[in-house]
């Protein structure tokens, strides 16, 4: 009995592996036979094909007193998502303080991803974006390197 069951189980497993071999049709009469040709949403290795990249600068250097034309975080993205999907890019803050550990330089952010989360309009899209930085109080603190960190979060929605 055990041998019968084990053979039966082996056959079932073989059939499971061989399923693609049954995905065919037999023609024994002349005529036309249509066959669907369908793309998968995965690549040849079975990995999801939808992809995106959001590129942000590691560091933004702001000259003392700021830049005449304004300072900004320049970032970009490219996407090829599944049908109906969009990218949503957001920041963890819209204002803060650059600090040297003792003194602070207040700043605010505006523009892309700051006023509101940035949402792409198409599944396949590429663009360059800019988030403006406005720093105040330059004359009130010792000259030095003041820093703060802004965190970008990217989601597929």
């Amino acid at each position: 009995m055990k041998k019968v069951l084990s053979v039966a189980l082996a056959l079932v497993m073989l059939f499971a592996v061989c399923v693609p071999a049954f995905a065919s049709q037999t023609i024994t009469q002349p005529g036309q036979t249509p066959v669907d040709v369908v793309t998968l949403t995965t690549d040849i290795n079975g990995n999801p094909a939808a992809n995106f990249t959001v590129t942000i600068p590691a560091t933004v250097s702001i000259p003392w007193y700021g830049t005449t034309g304004g300072d900004s975080i320049n970032w970009s993205y490219t996407s090829q998502l599944n049908i109906g999907e969009q990218l949503q890019i957001s920041l963890d803050k819209t204002s803060g303080n650059l600090t040297n550990g003792t003194d602070n330089l207040p700043y605010t952010l505006s523009g892309d991803a700051a006023d509101a989360a940035y949402v792409t309009t198409d599944e396949v899209e590429s663009a360059n974006c800019s988030t403006a930085i406005a720093v105040t109080g330059w004359d009130d603190v010792p000259v030095g390197a003041y820093t703060d960190t802004v965190t970008f979060t990217v989601e597929v929605v």
């Binding site: 959001v54 942000i56 970008f152």
Partner: protein, 161 residues
């Protein structure tokens, strides 16, 4: 062979140093990335911004016999230095003689920066006005005329202790 290996090693080390990422890629759903905002100590033209101004008069006119309220040398300073720095201002003498080349009128100075250097105590100082008192004596002992002397101010940037 050793030279080749040494050069190759140097190149590898240089490449390792050059790796610091100038950009971060976020490519996963829910992924995050950080951008550091950092100020420079130079302006947009690359010029150092830390600085100060100590303003001293080119001349101080003292009426013969002196001013009733007293004569003074008025000076001022303003600074925005790097953190941990302050100004140190000093005058080269606490007393001297105004001279016409032949006769002398003795004078003494009192106030900040006289005798002991004056330190501002902070890296950032708003415009501050200072005054050194000038006391001249012996007006009746010398012929009336133009008597003069020169004072030298020295300004240094020093650490705040």
């Amino acid at each position: 062979m050793k030279k080749i290996l040494a050069v190759a090693l140097a190149l590898v080390m240089m490449l390792a140093v050059c790796v610091p990422a100038f950009a971060t890629d976020i490519a996963t759903n829910g992924g995050t990335g950080d951008t550091t905002l950092q100020t420079l100590t130079t302006d947009e033209d690359g010029n150092p911004v830390a600085g100060f101004t100590v303003t001293i008069p080119a001349t101080v006119d003292i009426p013969w016999g002196g001013t009733t309220e007293g004569d003074t040398l008025d000076w001022s300073y303003v600074s925005q230095l790097e953190a941990g720095k302050q100004l140190s201002i000093s005058v080269d003498k606490a007393s001297g003689s105004l001279t016409n080349g032949t006769d002398n009128l003795a004078y003494t100075l009192t106030g900040d920066a006289v005798g002991t250097a004056f330190t501002t105590g902070a890296a950032v100082c708003a415009l501050t006005e200072k005054s050194i008192n000038i006391a001249v004596s012996g007006w009746d002992d010398v012929p009336v005329g133009a008597y003069s002397d020169t004072l030298t101010f020295t300004v240094e940037v020093v650490d705040i202790v």
